[in-house]
Symmetry: C2
Subunit: 210 residues, 2 copies
């Protein structure tokens, strides 16, 4: 009996499969993050991956499968900085550490940031379920934690949810709107350093105001 598509997904993948799937996902990250789902073409992705289009479709059933797998695989990585935040740590330093990690992510993985940004802007049509099942619980958990910290007088009291939104908005801004930042601050080499300093100082001021 020939190996079916389902079997392929369940059995342990060969070395070639591993390599090619990784090449495809890497190429897809490039193309999807730049053009969004509908704007990306299979030909573009295949060329970027160095494979023929049918060869690529041997590894993924269709365009959407590539996109979904990419988002799904990246989600964990993307949430990691928030997960790390420790209930037993020093509140202000925990939050500032999170902010620093988030800035570092935007700097190191701007494509990933833009991939998610594209998907969310367009209404999260393919990642919607994941948002509910993976992001929401984590968000609620950390909101509760921050609220406790604030009630203990360790942080300036405010709405924890909107605080997290602010952190996301600002940190991701530098990755998602890089084109604009570069126009307005052409001296981009130093922009990242000043940006990181600004963001940290800003939230430190905000969170430790009496």
């Amino acid at each position: 009996m020939p190996q079916s598509v389902d079997a392929r997904a369940e059995k342990k993948p060969s070395r070639i499969q591993l390599r090619n799937r990784r090449k495809i996902l890497e190429a897809a990250l490039d193309v999807f993050s730049q053009h969004g789902f509908r704007g990306a073409t299979l030909d573009q992705i295949a060329e970027a991956a160095g494979l023929s289009k049918p060869n690529m479709l041997y590894y993924f059933d269709n365009k959407e499968a590539i996109h979904v797998e990419l988002l799904s695989a990246l989600m964990a990585e993307w949430l990691a900085p928030l997960e790390v935040m420790d209930p037993d740590g020093e509140p202000l330093e925990e939050l500032l550490g999170y902010i620093r990690r988030k800035m570092q992510m935007s700097r190191t993985y701007p494509r990933e940031s833009r991939l998610f940004a594209n998907e969310i802007i367009q209404g999260a049509p393919r990642i919607g379920p994941d948002l509910n099942q993976r992001l929401k619980p984590l968000f609620d958990e950390k909101c509760a934690l921050i609220r406790i910290w604030m009630q203990a007088g360790k942080l300036t009291p405010m709405d924890p949810g909107h605080l997290i939104f602010s952190i996301w908005a600002i940190t991701q801004h530098y990755a998602d709107f890089e084109a604009q930042v570069q126009v307005l601050m052409p001296d981009s080499a130093v922009a990242w350093d000043t940006a990181m300093q600004h963001v940290e100082t800003m939230f430190r001021t905000l969170l430790s105001a009496e």
Copy 2:
């Protein structure tokens, strides 16, 4: 001699032209803001506008012309809240007023916000020149103004450019990432009100820290 395309652009447009061009741009705003440039199709726009595709292409030379005109026409409207900021006003109130107007814009015109977001995320391939010629001067001017205010001890000193980025990032976040916000704060009716309060309080704290 029949009226040429160029003449059409220069002569004063008829009532029908005005009406149809507006219908097209309105429809294009809907479609482009949801799918980005490459993801939007002329058929979608034409249907949303209630016109046939050839009829639409009678008013605009091609897809790109619609997109460019849309962005260009909206740019002024988009920059207005920043332009209003008055050098002779009370610094803190001027900035908070700007922030309030920007939040109001995101609330009232989320499609416009997403239209720009899509374009910038994808590297601003079509609006690049406009950023340099229209946004950059205004940005520099207001940065200088804020710097003067800070040097006069009226505001907490910080990098004015990054301050503006922070304002943009947070205010636009609620429009651009609305899908995510709605998942994480399902009680969306009140989310806007609490958001506006949070953002204002946040920047007031930040800007008036000693």
